[in-house]
Point group: C2
Chain length 236, copies 2
Amino acid sequence: MTSDGVSEQDFTLDGVPGALWSPAGAAGGRPLVLLGHGGGQHKKGPGLVARARRLVTDLGFAAAAIDMPGFGDRPKSEQDQRFLAEIAELRAAGEPVGARIASYQVARAGQAIADWQATLDALAGLGYPGPTGYWGVSLGTLIGVPLAAAEPRISAAVFGLAPHGPLAEAAARITIPVEFLLQWDDELVPRADGLALFGAFASADKTLHANPGRHADVPAFELDSSVRFLARHLTG
Amino acid sequence: MTSDGVSEQDFTLDGVPGALWSPAGAAGGRPLVLLGHGGGQHKKGPGLVARARRLVTDLGFAAAAIDMPGFGDRPKSEQDQRFLAEIAELRAAGEPVGARIASYQVARAGQAIADWQATLDALAGLGYPGPTGYWGVSLGTLIGVPLAAAEPRISAAVFGLAPHGPLAEAAARITIPVEFLLQWDDELVPRADGLALFGAFASADKTLHANPGRHADVPAFELDSSVRFLARHLTG
């Protein structure tokens, strides 16, 4: 499907559904950004598609997204269902859920990492990647940090909205440039835990952008900033 | 003096030396940014002049700077000299000096605020201001925060590299958009004190940019970001 100069191509790799956005009529040989969706979202959530289109139209990059295990068109395991029931109970009791979500998603990130790596392998066959970036906050960071720690093809990343605790070991192995988003009044990630994750990256080139508001309130101007950050590190 | 399309005009107001940068051949009627210099610097320090020229060439704005009391071409009082001797002794003894510098400069900010307000009055007679911004970190923030709290003509500000303590009362009265710079390894401003100052601004629209490195190591890309921030808030 092509609209406004952006081609959107669906794919399925070993049962993992994904999508690739690129300039209409163009082939590989251009920077690629992997877009990690947030919790409750999927490979074509509206925020994610907006980011993909900006990368194509502003920078001439390509962008790819896949459904994470248990999200979008992928089935929820019995373990996922038990976990969701547990979260619903915690919420009903007015208990905080952020730390539990983070530890659960990081503990099972191995499958998501393998899926992303298979996606990268397949896209290499289509002329991608050249320089590869990653962009994902919240769930996209719970999976993205261990992915970037494991995957040398990723050379710059936008992360954020996630705590240090379960990511401590992976974060300490991150040396690529990072732009990190933090919400000052995040109801899921205590401020000190988000700041500690930023502090833990071993990257010499890392930058923290913090804004007032809750978990979902990242201001629109940060999209512009993330595009510029990826342009700066994946071109020239 | 005019170079590369930028006019630089010196002035003196009641013994306060200053400079105004504007597009060559242009008159007032454009946004104005007040540039507060850092400690040990003056109205034409190289970093400050670079910022002034960017505002003129990128945005068509005007920019103004004045020497703060005791800096540049303005005499040091006996009190200033005693203070500098005290700081030299603290440094020689390996003691931290940031908190002492901050409390001293904020305590005597009244004169600097009066000087900035007289400058604004005079520039109004030259067709300025329309929308007015402020840009100053370190000493530029120790003076700029109480200035912006007192001066309704200032409608957006870039601050940073300063602690909460002596600025607490003024910061709580700031409601304009603020972009705030923090150095993660600042040897003069403990991290928690810088974060607390960001937290204290009453502005709904405020954004924190933190980067690794010491007090003087603000990365060059933050200059680009500050220009964009001021463009966003001072133009239509």
